[in-house]
Protein backbone atom coordinates (compact mmCIF):
# COMPACT_ATOMS: atom_id res chain seq x y z
CA UNK A 1 0.00 0.00 0.00
CA UNK A 2 2.87 2.35 0.82
CA UNK A 3 4.19 2.25 -2.75
CA UNK A 4 0.77 3.10 -4.22
CA UNK A 5 0.31 5.98 -1.77
CA UNK A 6 3.81 7.32 -2.44
CA UNK A 7 3.14 7.06 -6.19
CA UNK A 8 -0.09 9.04 -5.87
CA UNK A 9 1.57 11.66 -3.68
CA UNK A 10 4.57 11.97 -6.04
CA UNK A 11 2.30 12.32 -9.05
CA UNK A 12 0.35 15.08 -7.30
CA UNK A 13 3.54 16.94 -6.36
CA UNK A 14 4.88 16.52 -9.90
CA UNK A 15 1.59 17.80 -11.32
CA UNK A 16 1.43 20.87 -9.07
CA UNK A 17 3.81 23.10 -11.06
CA UNK A 18 2.38 21.73 -14.30
CA UNK A 19 -1.13 22.82 -13.24
CA UNK A 20 0.18 26.25 -12.24
CA UNK A 21 2.09 26.56 -15.52
CA UNK A 22 -1.15 25.84 -17.36
CA UNK A 23 -3.26 28.08 -15.13
CA UNK A 24 -1.60 30.35 -12.59
CA UNK A 25 -5.03 31.09 -11.05
CA UNK A 26 -5.83 27.46 -10.17
CA UNK A 27 -6.88 27.16 -6.54
CA UNK A 28 -8.38 24.76 -4.01
CA UNK A 29 -9.89 21.46 -5.14
CA UNK A 30 -9.32 22.21 -8.82
CA UNK A 31 -5.60 22.68 -8.20
CA UNK A 32 -5.29 19.41 -6.27
CA UNK A 33 -7.42 17.37 -8.69
CA UNK A 34 -5.70 18.69 -11.81
CA UNK A 35 -2.28 18.23 -10.20
CA UNK A 36 -2.82 14.50 -9.71
CA UNK A 37 -4.17 14.05 -13.23
CA UNK A 38 -1.26 15.98 -14.79
CA UNK A 39 1.18 14.04 -12.63
CA UNK A 40 -0.34 10.77 -13.81
CA UNK A 41 -0.09 11.93 -17.43
CA UNK A 42 3.48 13.17 -16.97
CA UNK A 43 4.61 9.84 -15.49
CA UNK A 44 3.11 8.05 -18.51
CA UNK A 45 5.01 10.35 -20.88
CA UNK A 46 8.27 9.91 -18.95
CA UNK A 47 8.07 6.09 -18.97
CA UNK A 48 7.06 6.12 -22.64
CA UNK A 49 9.97 8.41 -23.56
CA UNK A 50 12.51 6.37 -21.55
CA UNK A 51 11.29 3.23 -23.29
CA UNK A 52 11.38 4.80 -26.75
CA UNK A 53 15.05 5.81 -26.30
CA UNK A 54 15.64 2.17 -25.32
CA UNK A 55 16.77 2.82 -21.76
CA UNK A 56 15.75 0.33 -19.12
CA UNK A 57 13.27 1.68 -16.55
CA UNK A 58 14.88 2.15 -13.16
CA UNK A 59 13.56 4.16 -10.24
CA UNK A 60 16.52 6.61 -10.10
CA UNK A 61 16.26 7.25 -13.83
CA UNK A 62 12.50 7.88 -13.72
CA UNK A 63 12.93 10.07 -10.61
CA UNK A 64 15.58 12.18 -12.38
CA UNK A 65 13.35 12.64 -15.42
CA UNK A 66 10.41 13.56 -13.17
CA UNK A 67 12.61 16.10 -11.33
CA UNK A 68 13.59 17.66 -14.66
CA UNK A 69 9.90 17.99 -15.61
CA UNK A 70 9.14 19.40 -12.15
CA UNK A 71 11.87 22.07 -12.46
CA UNK A 72 10.88 23.05 -16.00
CA UNK A 73 7.21 23.34 -15.01
CA UNK A 74 8.14 25.33 -11.88
CA UNK A 75 9.98 27.88 -14.03
CA UNK A 76 6.99 28.15 -16.38
CA UNK A 77 4.62 28.47 -13.42
CA UNK A 78 6.40 31.63 -12.26
CA UNK A 79 4.78 33.73 -14.99
CA UNK A 80 2.16 36.18 -13.68
CA UNK A 81 -1.48 35.15 -13.74
CA UNK A 82 -3.60 36.48 -16.59
CA UNK A 83 -7.36 36.66 -16.99
CA UNK A 84 -10.12 37.02 -14.44
CA UNK A 85 -9.14 35.90 -10.92
CA UNK A 86 -10.90 32.71 -9.87
CA UNK A 87 -11.98 32.42 -6.24
CA UNK A 88 -11.25 29.11 -4.54
CA UNK A 89 -14.26 26.88 -3.83
CA UNK A 90 -15.68 27.28 -0.33
CA UNK A 91 -16.29 24.09 1.60
CA UNK A 92 -19.82 23.06 2.61
CA UNK A 93 -21.09 20.46 5.08
CA UNK A 94 -22.25 18.24 2.16
CA UNK A 95 -18.60 17.85 1.16
CA UNK A 96 -18.26 15.59 4.21
CA UNK A 97 -20.90 13.25 2.73
CA UNK A 98 -18.96 13.26 -0.56
CA UNK A 99 -15.85 12.32 1.36
CA UNK A 100 -17.83 9.51 2.98
CA UNK A 101 -18.96 8.21 -0.43
CA UNK A 102 -15.43 8.35 -1.83
CA UNK A 103 -14.15 6.51 1.25
CA UNK A 104 -16.68 3.79 0.48
CA UNK A 105 -15.37 3.60 -3.07
CA UNK A 106 -11.77 3.44 -1.81
CA UNK A 107 -12.68 0.52 0.46
CA UNK A 108 -14.33 -1.27 -2.46
CA UNK A 109 -11.42 -0.63 -4.84
CA UNK A 110 -8.91 -2.00 -2.34
CA UNK A 111 -10.90 -4.95 -0.99
CA UNK A 112 -8.59 -7.48 -2.60
CA UNK A 113 -5.99 -7.99 -5.31
CA UNK A 114 -7.46 -6.71 -8.55
CA UNK A 115 -10.01 -9.26 -9.70
CA UNK A 116 -11.38 -8.05 -13.03
CA UNK A 117 -10.79 -10.33 -16.02
CA UNK A 118 -9.78 -7.33 -18.17
CA UNK A 119 -7.20 -6.32 -15.56
CA UNK A 120 -5.22 -9.53 -15.71
CA UNK A 121 -5.86 -10.13 -19.41
CA UNK A 122 -5.19 -6.58 -20.65
CA UNK A 123 -4.16 -3.69 -18.39
CA UNK A 124 -2.36 -5.48 -15.59
CA UNK A 125 -0.89 -8.08 -17.95
CA UNK A 126 0.80 -5.43 -20.09
CA UNK A 127 2.06 -3.56 -17.03
CA UNK A 128 3.55 -6.76 -15.60
CA UNK A 129 5.14 -7.76 -18.90
CA UNK A 130 6.68 -4.30 -19.35
CA UNK A 131 7.99 -4.24 -15.78
CA UNK A 132 9.92 -7.48 -16.37
CA UNK A 133 11.20 -6.17 -19.69
CA UNK A 134 12.18 -2.82 -18.11
CA UNK A 135 10.27 -0.97 -20.82
CA UNK A 136 7.59 -1.49 -23.46
CA UNK A 137 7.94 -5.04 -24.77
CA UNK A 138 7.31 -4.62 -28.49
CA UNK A 139 7.92 -8.31 -29.10
CA UNK A 140 5.05 -9.15 -26.73
CA UNK A 141 2.78 -6.55 -28.33
CA UNK A 142 3.67 -7.77 -31.82
CA UNK A 143 3.05 -11.46 -31.10
CA UNK A 144 -0.08 -12.79 -32.74
CA UNK A 145 -0.75 -14.89 -29.65
CA UNK A 146 -1.21 -11.76 -27.58
CA UNK A 147 -3.81 -9.88 -29.62
CA UNK A 148 -6.33 -10.79 -26.89
CA UNK A 149 -4.57 -8.17 -24.74
CA UNK A 150 -5.65 -5.44 -27.19
CA UNK A 151 -2.07 -4.57 -28.00
CA UNK A 152 -3.12 -1.40 -29.83
CA UNK A 153 -4.66 0.20 -26.73
CA UNK A 154 -2.80 3.27 -25.43
CA UNK A 155 -0.58 2.74 -22.40
CA UNK A 156 -1.23 5.49 -19.83
CA UNK A 157 -2.83 3.10 -17.34
CA UNK A 158 -0.34 0.19 -17.60
CA UNK A 159 2.59 2.61 -17.33
CA UNK A 160 1.03 4.21 -14.23
CA UNK A 161 0.79 0.70 -12.73
CA UNK A 162 4.46 0.24 -13.62
CA UNK A 163 5.39 3.41 -11.76
CA UNK A 164 3.82 1.96 -8.61
CA UNK A 165 5.68 -1.32 -9.22
CA UNK A 166 8.99 0.52 -9.66
CA UNK A 167 8.43 2.24 -6.32
CA UNK A 168 7.45 -1.08 -4.78
CA UNK A 169 10.52 -2.83 -6.15
CA UNK A 170 8.44 -5.65 -7.66
CA UNK A 171 5.04 -6.43 -9.14
CA UNK A 172 2.05 -6.51 -6.80
CA UNK A 173 -1.56 -6.05 -7.81
CA UNK A 174 -2.81 -5.79 -4.24
CA UNK A 175 -3.10 -2.01 -3.92
CA UNK A 176 -3.24 -0.82 -7.52
CA UNK A 177 -6.94 -0.06 -6.98
CA UNK A 178 -5.79 3.07 -5.13
CA UNK A 179 -4.87 4.59 -8.49
CA UNK A 180 -8.49 4.18 -9.61
CA UNK A 181 -9.55 5.99 -6.45
CA UNK A 182 -7.09 8.81 -7.15
CA UNK A 183 -8.31 9.27 -10.73
CA UNK A 184 -11.91 9.44 -9.50
CA UNK A 185 -11.11 11.84 -6.66
CA UNK A 186 -9.17 14.01 -9.12
CA UNK A 187 -12.21 14.25 -11.39
CA UNK A 188 -14.56 15.04 -8.48
CA UNK A 189 -12.24 17.78 -7.21
CA UNK A 190 -12.04 19.40 -10.65
CA UNK A 191 -15.82 19.23 -11.13
CA UNK A 192 -16.35 20.62 -7.62
CA UNK A 193 -13.92 23.47 -8.31
CA UNK A 194 -15.53 24.35 -11.64
CA UNK A 195 -19.05 24.13 -10.19
CA UNK A 196 -18.08 26.57 -7.43
CA UNK A 197 -17.46 29.21 -10.12
CA UNK A 198 -21.00 28.89 -11.43
CA UNK A 199 -23.27 28.22 -8.49
CA UNK A 200 -23.56 28.54 -4.72
CA UNK A 201 -21.41 26.46 -2.31
CA UNK A 202 -24.56 24.51 -1.37
CA UNK A 203 -25.33 23.41 -4.92
CA UNK A 204 -21.65 22.97 -5.79
CA UNK A 205 -21.22 20.61 -2.86
CA UNK A 206 -24.42 18.71 -3.78
CA UNK A 207 -23.07 18.36 -7.30
CA UNK A 208 -19.81 17.05 -5.87
CA UNK A 209 -21.80 14.44 -3.95
CA UNK A 210 -23.79 13.45 -7.05
CA UNK A 211 -20.63 13.13 -9.13
CA UNK A 212 -18.75 11.13 -6.49
CA UNK A 213 -20.51 8.06 -7.91
CA UNK A 214 -20.35 9.10 -11.58
CA UNK A 215 -16.69 10.14 -11.68
CA UNK A 216 -15.46 6.76 -10.51
CA UNK A 217 -15.53 3.42 -12.26
CA UNK A 218 -16.62 0.20 -10.61
CA UNK A 219 -14.42 -1.67 -13.10
CA UNK A 220 -11.37 -1.59 -10.86
CA UNK A 221 -8.00 -1.97 -12.56
CA UNK A 222 -9.29 -1.13 -16.03
CA UNK A 223 -8.65 2.11 -17.88
CA UNK A 224 -12.28 3.21 -17.44
CA UNK A 225 -11.54 5.20 -14.27
CA UNK A 226 -8.68 7.13 -15.87
CA UNK A 227 -10.70 7.75 -19.04
CA UNK A 228 -13.71 9.05 -17.09
CA UNK A 229 -11.43 11.38 -15.11
CA UNK A 230 -9.33 12.75 -17.99
CA UNK A 231 -12.21 12.76 -20.48
CA UNK A 232 -14.73 14.26 -18.07
CA UNK A 233 -12.31 16.97 -16.93
CA UNK A 234 -11.43 17.74 -20.56
CA UNK A 235 -15.06 18.24 -21.62
CA UNK A 236 -15.77 20.42 -18.58
CA UNK A 237 -12.70 22.59 -19.17
CA UNK A 238 -13.50 23.07 -22.88
CA UNK A 239 -17.06 23.96 -21.88
CA UNK A 240 -15.65 26.58 -19.49
CA UNK A 241 -13.39 27.91 -22.23
CA UNK A 242 -16.31 28.31 -24.62
CA UNK A 243 -18.49 29.97 -21.95
CA UNK A 244 -15.94 32.30 -20.34
CA UNK A 245 -15.00 34.35 -23.40
CA UNK A 246 -12.45 31.88 -24.68
CA UNK A 247 -10.58 31.56 -21.38
CA UNK A 248 -7.05 30.66 -22.54
CA UNK A 249 -6.18 28.67 -19.39
CA UNK A 250 -9.36 26.59 -19.69
CA UNK A 251 -8.46 25.81 -23.33
CA UNK A 252 -5.02 24.64 -22.24
CA UNK A 253 -6.50 22.48 -19.46
CA UNK A 254 -9.14 21.06 -21.80
CA UNK A 255 -6.69 20.24 -24.57
CA UNK A 256 -4.13 18.60 -22.26
CA UNK A 257 -6.73 16.53 -20.41
CA UNK A 258 -8.18 15.48 -23.75
CA UNK A 259 -4.73 14.41 -24.94
CA UNK A 260 -4.26 12.26 -21.85
CA UNK A 261 -7.76 10.79 -22.29
CA UNK A 262 -6.67 9.73 -25.79
CA UNK A 263 -3.78 7.88 -24.14
CA UNK A 264 -6.08 5.90 -21.84
CA UNK A 265 -8.26 4.00 -24.32
CA UNK A 266 -9.32 4.09 -27.96
CA UNK A 267 -12.59 5.63 -26.76
CA UNK A 268 -10.44 8.57 -25.60
CA UNK A 269 -9.34 9.05 -29.21
CA UNK A 270 -12.98 8.97 -30.25
CA UNK A 271 -13.70 11.58 -27.55
CA UNK A 272 -10.95 13.79 -28.99
CA UNK A 273 -12.64 13.69 -32.39
CA UNK A 274 -16.09 14.22 -30.82
CA UNK A 275 -14.91 17.29 -28.89
CA UNK A 276 -13.22 18.74 -31.98
CA UNK A 277 -16.41 18.35 -34.03
CA UNK A 278 -18.53 19.80 -31.22
CA UNK A 279 -16.22 22.80 -30.72
CA UNK A 280 -16.25 23.48 -34.47
CA UNK A 281 -20.04 23.16 -34.65
CA UNK A 282 -20.72 25.34 -31.60
CA UNK A 283 -18.24 27.98 -32.79
CA UNK A 284 -19.73 27.98 -36.28
CA UNK A 285 -23.23 28.74 -34.99
CA UNK A 286 -22.07 31.16 -32.30
CA UNK A 287 -23.19 34.77 -32.61
CA UNK A 288 -20.20 37.07 -33.00
CA UNK A 289 -18.55 39.80 -34.96
CA UNK A 290 -15.82 37.64 -36.46
CA UNK A 291 -16.40 35.56 -39.58
CA UNK A 292 -17.67 32.02 -39.25
CA UNK A 293 -14.45 30.62 -40.69
CA UNK A 294 -12.41 32.45 -38.08
CA UNK A 295 -14.71 31.10 -35.38
CA UNK A 296 -14.33 27.63 -36.81
CA UNK A 297 -10.58 27.96 -36.24
CA UNK A 298 -11.35 27.89 -32.49
CA UNK A 299 -11.02 24.11 -32.77
CA UNK A 300 -7.29 24.53 -33.48
CA UNK A 301 -6.90 25.47 -29.81
CA UNK A 302 -7.13 21.77 -29.16
CA UNK A 303 -3.78 21.13 -30.90
CA UNK A 304 -2.02 20.08 -27.66
CA UNK A 305 -4.47 17.17 -27.43
CA UNK A 306 -3.44 15.94 -30.86
CA UNK A 307 0.24 16.47 -29.98
CA UNK A 308 -0.20 14.26 -26.91
CA UNK A 309 -2.13 11.60 -28.82
CA UNK A 310 0.39 11.48 -31.68
CA UNK A 311 3.32 9.56 -30.09
CA UNK A 312 1.31 6.43 -29.30
CA UNK A 313 -0.52 6.59 -32.64
CA UNK A 314 2.81 6.75 -34.47
CA UNK A 315 4.31 3.95 -32.37
CA UNK A 316 1.36 1.65 -32.84
CA UNK A 317 1.37 2.37 -36.59
CA UNK A 318 5.10 1.72 -36.95
CA UNK A 319 4.84 -1.51 -34.95
CA UNK A 320 1.75 -2.56 -36.93
CA UNK A 321 -0.38 -3.28 -33.87
CA UNK A 322 -3.81 -4.39 -35.08
CA UNK A 323 -7.10 -2.86 -33.90
CA UNK A 324 -9.75 -5.58 -33.64
CA UNK A 325 -12.61 -3.38 -34.77
CA UNK A 326 -10.72 -2.42 -37.94
CA UNK A 327 -9.86 -6.03 -38.77
CA UNK A 328 -11.23 -7.52 -42.00
CA UNK A 329 -13.65 -5.19 -43.70
CA UNK A 330 -15.35 -2.95 -41.12
CA UNK A 331 -17.17 -0.98 -43.79
CA UNK A 332 -18.84 -4.05 -45.27
CA UNK A 333 -19.87 -5.22 -41.80
CA UNK A 334 -21.33 -1.78 -41.11
CA UNK A 335 -23.25 -1.77 -44.38
CA UNK A 336 -24.51 -5.29 -43.77
CA UNK A 337 -25.88 -4.36 -40.34
CA UNK A 338 -27.34 -0.98 -41.35
CA UNK A 339 -30.75 -2.43 -42.31
CA UNK A 340 -30.98 -3.79 -38.75
CA UNK A 341 -30.00 -0.54 -37.07
CA UNK A 342 -33.44 -0.10 -35.44
CA UNK A 343 -33.17 -3.57 -33.88
CA UNK A 344 -29.66 -2.77 -32.66
CA UNK A 345 -30.79 0.53 -31.15
CA UNK A 346 -33.69 -1.28 -29.49
CA UNK A 347 -31.26 -3.81 -28.05
CA UNK A 348 -29.02 -1.01 -26.77
CA UNK A 349 -31.99 0.62 -25.05
CA UNK A 350 -33.11 -2.63 -23.41
CA UNK A 351 -29.54 -3.28 -22.28
CA UNK A 352 -28.99 0.28 -21.04
CA UNK A 353 -27.22 0.21 -17.69
CA UNK A 354 -28.71 2.66 -15.20
CA UNK A 355 -31.77 3.52 -17.32
CA UNK A 356 -33.19 5.73 -14.55
CA UNK A 357 -30.11 7.91 -14.66
CA UNK A 358 -30.51 8.55 -18.40
CA UNK A 359 -34.26 9.07 -18.05
CA UNK A 360 -33.74 11.72 -15.37
CA UNK A 361 -31.03 13.36 -17.48
CA UNK A 362 -33.47 13.54 -20.40
CA UNK A 363 -36.24 14.89 -18.17
CA UNK A 364 -33.85 17.46 -16.69
CA UNK A 365 -32.90 18.69 -20.15
CA UNK A 366 -36.56 19.06 -21.10
CA UNK A 367 -37.56 20.81 -17.85
CA UNK A 368 -34.65 23.28 -17.83
CA UNK A 369 -35.28 26.71 -19.38
CA UNK A 370 -34.48 27.01 -23.09
CA UNK A 371 -31.81 29.66 -22.46
CA UNK A 372 -29.97 27.33 -20.09
CA UNK A 373 -30.22 24.49 -22.63
CA UNK A 374 -28.77 26.69 -25.36
CA UNK A 375 -25.80 27.46 -23.12
CA UNK A 376 -25.00 23.75 -22.79
CA UNK A 377 -25.14 22.80 -26.49
CA UNK A 378 -21.46 21.86 -26.46
CA UNK A 379 -21.77 19.12 -23.83
CA UNK A 380 -25.02 17.79 -25.35
CA UNK A 381 -23.34 17.59 -28.73
CA UNK A 382 -20.22 15.86 -27.41
CA UNK A 383 -22.37 13.26 -25.62
CA UNK A 384 -24.48 12.66 -28.72
CA UNK A 385 -21.43 12.27 -30.98
CA UNK A 386 -19.81 9.89 -28.47
CA UNK A 387 -22.95 7.73 -28.38
CA UNK A 388 -23.11 7.82 -32.18
CA UNK A 389 -19.48 6.65 -32.39
CA UNK A 390 -20.29 3.75 -30.07
CA UNK A 391 -23.25 2.71 -32.22
CA UNK A 392 -21.06 2.84 -35.35
CA UNK A 393 -18.43 0.74 -33.56
CA UNK A 394 -21.09 -1.86 -32.76
CA UNK A 395 -22.27 -1.87 -36.36
CA UNK A 396 -18.71 -2.48 -37.55
CA UNK A 397 -17.60 -4.94 -34.89
CA UNK A 398 -16.08 -8.22 -36.10
CA UNK A 399 -17.34 -9.86 -32.88
CA UNK A 400 -20.80 -11.17 -32.21
CA UNK A 401 -22.79 -7.97 -31.82
CA UNK A 402 -24.88 -9.13 -28.86
CA UNK A 403 -21.81 -10.34 -26.99
CA UNK A 404 -20.00 -7.09 -27.74
CA UNK A 405 -22.92 -4.98 -26.45
CA UNK A 406 -23.36 -7.11 -23.32
CA UNK A 407 -19.68 -6.87 -22.42
CA UNK A 408 -19.10 -3.17 -23.11
CA UNK A 409 -22.27 -1.05 -23.27
CA UNK A 410 -22.47 -0.36 -19.52
CA UNK A 411 -18.82 0.76 -19.49
CA UNK A 412 -19.25 2.99 -22.54
CA UNK A 413 -22.32 4.80 -21.23
CA UNK A 414 -20.55 5.32 -17.88
CA UNK A 415 -17.73 7.07 -19.76
CA UNK A 416 -20.16 9.71 -21.06
CA UNK A 417 -22.07 10.26 -17.79
CA UNK A 418 -19.88 12.75 -15.89
CA UNK A 419 -20.10 15.88 -18.12
CA UNK A 420 -23.80 15.46 -18.93
CA UNK A 421 -24.69 14.98 -15.25
CA UNK A 422 -22.63 18.07 -14.40
CA UNK A 423 -24.37 20.38 -16.86
CA UNK A 424 -27.91 19.09 -16.26
CA UNK A 425 -27.43 19.47 -12.51
CA UNK A 426 -26.13 23.03 -12.91
CA UNK A 427 -28.93 23.98 -15.32
CA UNK A 428 -31.55 22.81 -12.84
CA UNK A 429 -29.80 24.25 -9.78
CA UNK A 430 -29.17 27.65 -11.30
CA UNK A 431 -32.71 27.81 -12.69
CA UNK A 432 -33.99 27.12 -9.20
CA UNK A 433 -31.81 29.89 -7.85
CA UNK A 434 -33.37 32.21 -10.42
CA UNK A 435 -30.19 32.63 -12.40
CA UNK A 436 -29.15 30.61 -15.40
CA UNK A 437 -25.64 31.89 -15.51
CA UNK A 438 -24.11 33.00 -12.29
CA UNK A 439 -20.36 33.36 -12.61
CA UNK A 440 -18.62 33.60 -9.25
CA UNK A 441 -22.00 32.97 -7.65
CA UNK A 442 -20.44 31.78 -4.44
CA UNK A 443 -19.62 35.37 -3.59
CA UNK A 444 -23.36 35.75 -3.02
CA UNK A 445 -25.26 34.16 -0.12
CA UNK A 446 -27.44 31.09 -0.73
CA UNK A 447 -31.12 31.62 -1.42
Amino acid sequence: MTAALIAILSMTVLGLPITLAVDRRARGPLLVGASFLYGSGAIFLILLAVSVVKLRWTLPEVTLAALAVFCAASILAKQPATGKPQPAARAHVFDVVTLFALTGYALYATLASLWEWDFWAIWGLKARVFLEEGGIDWRFLGSRWNTFAHTDYPLLVPLNFDFVALLNGSWSDRWLGLLCVAWGVGAVLIARGLAARETSPFFASLLGLALASRAVSTFIGLAEGALIAFGGAAVLFVRTALRDDDDAAAWRHGALMLGFAANCKNEGLALLVAVTIAVAAVSWFRVGETSRWRRLATATKLWPAYALAAPWLILRFTHVLPTDIAGGSPFSRLVARLPHVHEILGFLITRLHDPWFWLVILAGILIAPAAARRGERFVFLVTLIQLLFYVVAYLATPNDLHWHVMTSWSRLTAQAALPIAFVVFLMLANSLRGSQDAPHAQARPDQ
Binding site: G124, L125, W145, L428
Partner: protein, 168 residues
Protein backbone atom coordinates in the same frame (compact mmCIF):
# COMPACT_ATOMS: atom_id res chain seq x y z
CA UNK B 1 -44.68 27.73 -9.34
CA UNK B 2 -45.25 24.48 -11.27
CA UNK B 3 -41.99 24.96 -13.16
CA UNK B 4 -40.14 25.55 -9.91
CA UNK B 5 -41.64 22.38 -8.45
CA UNK B 6 -40.62 20.43 -11.57
CA UNK B 7 -37.10 21.84 -11.40
CA UNK B 8 -36.82 20.84 -7.76
CA UNK B 9 -38.15 17.33 -8.40
CA UNK B 10 -35.81 16.86 -11.36
CA UNK B 11 -32.83 18.07 -9.32
CA UNK B 12 -33.60 15.78 -6.40
CA UNK B 13 -34.22 12.88 -8.77
CA UNK B 14 -30.86 13.51 -10.44
CA UNK B 15 -29.12 13.55 -7.08
CA UNK B 16 -30.78 10.28 -6.09
CA UNK B 17 -30.04 8.42 -9.34
CA UNK B 18 -26.45 9.66 -9.38
CA UNK B 19 -25.61 8.26 -5.96
CA UNK B 20 -24.75 4.57 -5.99
CA UNK B 21 -25.87 3.09 -2.64
CA UNK B 22 -23.23 0.36 -2.96
CA UNK B 23 -20.54 2.97 -2.34
CA UNK B 24 -22.03 3.73 1.06
CA UNK B 25 -23.08 0.15 1.88
CA UNK B 26 -19.48 -1.05 1.70
CA UNK B 27 -18.76 0.99 4.83
CA UNK B 28 -21.07 -1.26 6.81
CA UNK B 29 -20.60 -4.76 5.35
CA UNK B 30 -18.27 -7.53 6.49
CA UNK B 31 -15.29 -6.51 4.38
CA UNK B 32 -13.22 -9.57 5.24
CA UNK B 33 -15.88 -11.86 3.78
CA UNK B 34 -16.23 -9.58 0.77
CA UNK B 35 -12.44 -9.61 0.30
CA UNK B 36 -12.36 -13.41 0.44
CA UNK B 37 -15.04 -13.56 -2.23
CA UNK B 38 -13.23 -11.02 -4.43
CA UNK B 39 -9.90 -12.81 -4.03
CA UNK B 40 -11.43 -16.05 -5.19
CA UNK B 41 -13.62 -14.62 -7.93
CA UNK B 42 -11.18 -14.85 -10.88
CA UNK B 43 -10.38 -18.51 -10.14
CA UNK B 44 -13.76 -19.88 -9.11
CA UNK B 45 -13.49 -22.45 -11.91
CA UNK B 46 -10.14 -23.85 -10.80
CA UNK B 47 -9.10 -22.50 -7.36
CA UNK B 48 -5.73 -24.29 -7.45
CA UNK B 49 -4.75 -22.93 -10.85
CA UNK B 50 -2.98 -19.70 -9.69
CA UNK B 51 -0.84 -21.71 -7.27
CA UNK B 52 -0.01 -24.18 -10.02
CA UNK B 53 1.04 -21.28 -12.26
CA UNK B 54 3.21 -19.83 -9.48
CA UNK B 55 4.91 -23.23 -9.32
CA UNK B 56 5.43 -23.25 -13.08
CA UNK B 57 6.89 -19.77 -12.86
CA UNK B 58 9.30 -20.86 -10.14
CA UNK B 59 10.53 -23.77 -12.27
CA UNK B 60 11.01 -21.92 -15.56
CA UNK B 61 13.18 -19.06 -16.73
CA UNK B 62 12.36 -15.77 -18.52
CA UNK B 63 12.28 -16.40 -22.26
CA UNK B 64 11.05 -20.01 -21.97
CA UNK B 65 8.10 -21.04 -24.12
CA UNK B 66 5.29 -22.81 -22.30
CA UNK B 67 2.19 -24.45 -23.76
CA UNK B 68 -0.87 -24.80 -21.55
CA UNK B 69 -3.03 -27.90 -21.25
CA UNK B 70 -6.17 -27.57 -19.18
CA UNK B 71 -9.44 -29.49 -18.74
CA UNK B 72 -11.84 -29.22 -21.63
CA UNK B 73 -9.44 -27.73 -24.14
CA UNK B 74 -12.30 -25.73 -25.67
CA UNK B 75 -11.94 -21.94 -25.83
CA UNK B 76 -15.22 -20.98 -24.20
CA UNK B 77 -15.25 -23.88 -21.75
CA UNK B 78 -12.28 -22.71 -19.76
CA UNK B 79 -9.32 -22.67 -22.13
CA UNK B 80 -9.49 -18.90 -22.69
CA UNK B 81 -9.36 -18.43 -18.91
CA UNK B 82 -6.50 -20.92 -18.59
CA UNK B 83 -4.49 -19.24 -21.34
CA UNK B 84 -5.08 -15.62 -20.26
CA UNK B 85 -4.47 -16.41 -16.61
CA UNK B 86 -1.24 -18.21 -17.50
CA UNK B 87 -0.14 -15.21 -19.56
CA UNK B 88 -0.55 -13.01 -16.46
CA UNK B 89 1.24 -15.32 -14.03
CA UNK B 90 4.00 -16.34 -16.45
CA UNK B 91 5.10 -12.91 -17.68
CA UNK B 92 8.58 -12.93 -19.14
CA UNK B 93 7.93 -16.38 -20.60
CA UNK B 94 6.13 -16.91 -23.90
CA UNK B 95 2.83 -18.62 -23.22
CA UNK B 96 1.52 -20.49 -26.25
CA UNK B 97 -2.12 -21.46 -26.73
CA UNK B 98 -2.96 -24.90 -28.06
CA UNK B 99 -6.47 -23.93 -29.17
CA UNK B 100 -7.75 -20.89 -31.08
CA UNK B 101 -10.93 -18.99 -30.15
CA UNK B 102 -12.57 -21.01 -32.95
CA UNK B 103 -11.43 -24.21 -31.18
CA UNK B 104 -8.97 -25.13 -33.91
CA UNK B 105 -5.99 -27.02 -32.52
CA UNK B 106 -2.50 -25.58 -32.82
CA UNK B 107 -0.05 -28.53 -32.96
CA UNK B 108 2.77 -26.23 -34.08
CA UNK B 109 2.63 -24.51 -30.68
CA UNK B 110 2.83 -27.88 -28.96
CA UNK B 111 6.04 -28.64 -30.83
CA UNK B 112 7.44 -25.15 -30.32
CA UNK B 113 7.03 -25.22 -26.54
CA UNK B 114 10.04 -25.92 -24.33
CA UNK B 115 7.67 -26.82 -21.51
CA UNK B 116 4.16 -28.22 -21.27
CA UNK B 117 2.17 -27.07 -18.25
CA UNK B 118 -0.69 -29.52 -17.78
CA UNK B 119 -3.28 -28.68 -15.15
CA UNK B 120 -5.62 -31.42 -13.92
CA UNK B 121 -4.75 -33.42 -17.03
CA UNK B 122 -2.56 -36.46 -17.59
CA UNK B 123 -0.29 -36.11 -20.58
CA UNK B 124 1.30 -39.25 -21.92
CA UNK B 125 4.28 -38.41 -24.06
CA UNK B 126 8.05 -38.83 -23.89
CA UNK B 127 8.87 -36.06 -21.44
CA UNK B 128 10.85 -35.25 -18.36
CA UNK B 129 8.74 -34.26 -15.36
CA UNK B 130 10.22 -30.97 -14.16
CA UNK B 131 7.79 -30.35 -11.34
CA UNK B 132 4.53 -31.72 -10.03
CA UNK B 133 2.12 -30.12 -7.61
CA UNK B 134 -0.95 -27.94 -7.04
CA UNK B 135 -3.02 -30.12 -9.34
CA UNK B 136 -0.71 -30.12 -12.32
CA UNK B 137 2.54 -31.16 -13.93
CA UNK B 138 5.27 -29.25 -15.68
CA UNK B 139 6.85 -31.34 -18.42
CA UNK B 140 9.83 -30.88 -20.71
CA UNK B 141 9.11 -32.85 -23.88
CA UNK B 142 11.81 -35.14 -25.18
CA UNK B 143 11.29 -34.94 -28.90
CA UNK B 144 12.45 -37.92 -30.90
CA UNK B 145 12.14 -40.34 -27.98
CA UNK B 146 9.93 -43.38 -28.29
CA UNK B 147 6.49 -42.68 -26.84
CA UNK B 148 5.01 -45.03 -24.24
CA UNK B 149 3.88 -48.32 -25.73
CA UNK B 150 0.69 -48.11 -27.73
CA UNK B 151 0.68 -44.33 -27.68
CA UNK B 152 1.46 -42.28 -30.76
CA UNK B 153 3.87 -39.38 -30.53
CA UNK B 154 1.59 -36.37 -30.08
CA UNK B 155 3.74 -34.17 -32.27
CA UNK B 156 4.03 -36.67 -35.05
CA UNK B 157 2.19 -36.30 -38.34
CA UNK B 158 -1.33 -34.99 -38.03
CA UNK B 159 -1.81 -36.38 -34.57
CA UNK B 160 -3.57 -33.95 -32.31
CA UNK B 161 -1.34 -32.87 -29.43
CA UNK B 162 -4.22 -33.11 -27.03
CA UNK B 163 -6.13 -36.19 -27.93
CA UNK B 164 -5.97 -38.98 -26.94
CA UNK B 165 -2.72 -38.33 -25.06
CA UNK B 166 -4.10 -35.64 -22.83
CA UNK B 167 -6.82 -36.95 -20.61
CA UNK B 168 -8.42 -35.63 -17.53
Amino acid sequence: MLRRALLLIALLALLVVCIKPRMLQILFVDREAAAREMNGSPDRLWPLYPRFLEGVRAHTQPGDTIAIIAPGMAWDSGYSYAYYRASYFLTGREVLPLVTPENEKLPQNFRAARYIAAFEMTVRMPAEIVWQGEGGTLLRPVWGAVPPAGRPNPAGGNASPLHPEAQR
